[in-house]
């Protein structure tokens, strides 16, 4: 029991509005599934450029995205990833704390979403690991590992950075209206 409390005490407070660091290569392709206003999937949605907000309870971490006004639930209550899940745009996520890093495992994707703005495809076997670490008050690192033995020769790991957007709030963004 003491160990449990100690582990819980280490959970870092990730809550806040975060703005992903700008990156080149926004897609303007007609083949881009985002053009249909379906959800971007993971990890592409981590790339921004719109802000996201993290809210945290003892049982789950919720990530609200300004893009699509959509959300992800990351269950941290110890439940296992679903077996043979129905493919979804944003998959199914569980998280656990390793020290002060939140490690999120996500599976159960459809094979329509892109991994990045360049159009890298993946299969339904995609397994994404995101390690959320708040480096200091204003900086969040997300180390992303993409594993998909059917589509990739080997796992790919890279790190995204986001800055705390203090004093701001997410706006309602409806994709269908935004593309007019």
């Amino acid at each position: 029991m003491l160990a449990l409390f100690a582990a819980a005490a280490r959970a870092q407070d990730l809550s806040g509005v975060w703005l992903p660091e700008a990156r080149p290569g926004v897609s303007h392709s007609n083949d881009d599934p985002d053009a249909n206003c379906t959800l971007s999937g993971v990890p592409r949605i981590d790339l921004g450029p719109k802000p996201f907000k993290i809210l945290q309870s003892s049982d789950e971490v919720v990530i609200l995205y300004e893009a699509f006004t959509t959300f992800r639930q990351v269950f941290t209550d110890g439940r296992a990833l679903p077996r043979d899940p129905q493919p979804a745009w944003m998959g199914y996520s569980v998280g656990k704390w390793e020290g002060d890093t939140l490690v999120v495992e996500t599976i159960g994707f459809n094979d329509i979403t892109w991994l990045d703005n360049a159009g890298t495809r993946h299969s339904e076997s995609l397994h994404v690991t995101e390690r959320f670490h708040r480096r200091d008050l204003k900086h969040l690192d997300i180390q992303i590992t993409v594993d998909d033995p059917k589509a990739l020769q080997h796992p790919i790991t890279y790190t995204e950075h986001a800055d705390l957007a203090q004093g701001t709030e997410l706006h309602e963004f409806i994709c269908l209206e935004g593309r007019k």
């Binding site: 609200l64 699509f68 959509t70 745009w89 309602e172």
Partner: protein, 250 residues
Amino acid sequence: MKSLLILFALAPLHAQWLNYPTKNAPRTKDGKVDMSAPAPRGKDGKVDITGIWEPNGLKYLINIAADLKPDEVPFQPWAAAQYKERRANNGRDDPNNQCLPSGVPEKDAVTSPFKIMQFPGEMLILYESRTIYRQIFTDGRTMPKDFKPSWQGFSTGRWDGDDFVVETTGLNGKIWMDTNGHPLSDAAHVTERFRRRDYGHMDIQITIDDPKAYTKPWTVTENPHLLADTELLESVCEENNKDARHIVGK
């Protein structure tokens, strides 16, 4: 009418965390959730309204004023005419048909589950329909001066006894409050009183104060029930919207 409601009845994904037991739910001897047990309370003594809720059927989604007599809706003349036209057109122009969001207060009646969560400074509602969220701020903030009118507006919440009272303004004037087409203008001030009667039942008393569309405020009460031992699914309207072209109106 049937075609209109298909959008809300889209079969979402099979439950992936179905039968995952809800923490601390009161149970009867046979292990079922005791829906008539007392409403739980938080450490602060307030009624805990968190959980996954679902409207009881389509009644208020079709007609928010279903419990009122037709002449009890205090339409302004233009709003009465617009409502009549929308009904005559079988709701062809309902924004939902194009996968635009359900606005406040139609969201309370959309027949798919929604999950209320409480965090410091805000109450959060996650909607299975459209996989969209709504933030209700409880930290005392007021609407920013540059707030852009939207489908969900700007909502603040406070406790009044056991009622969680949500006030919403900043709505975009495009909202249909139901599939029948009761209009809501950009001058609307919507008050929702969430009252958890017992473990498994909630009343949402909704007051529409919209002097542009209605001559006086009017009130209805909806009654969602708790969904225990389950979880929200993903539902993406744009994935396979085949309704719009089948809804032709007059």
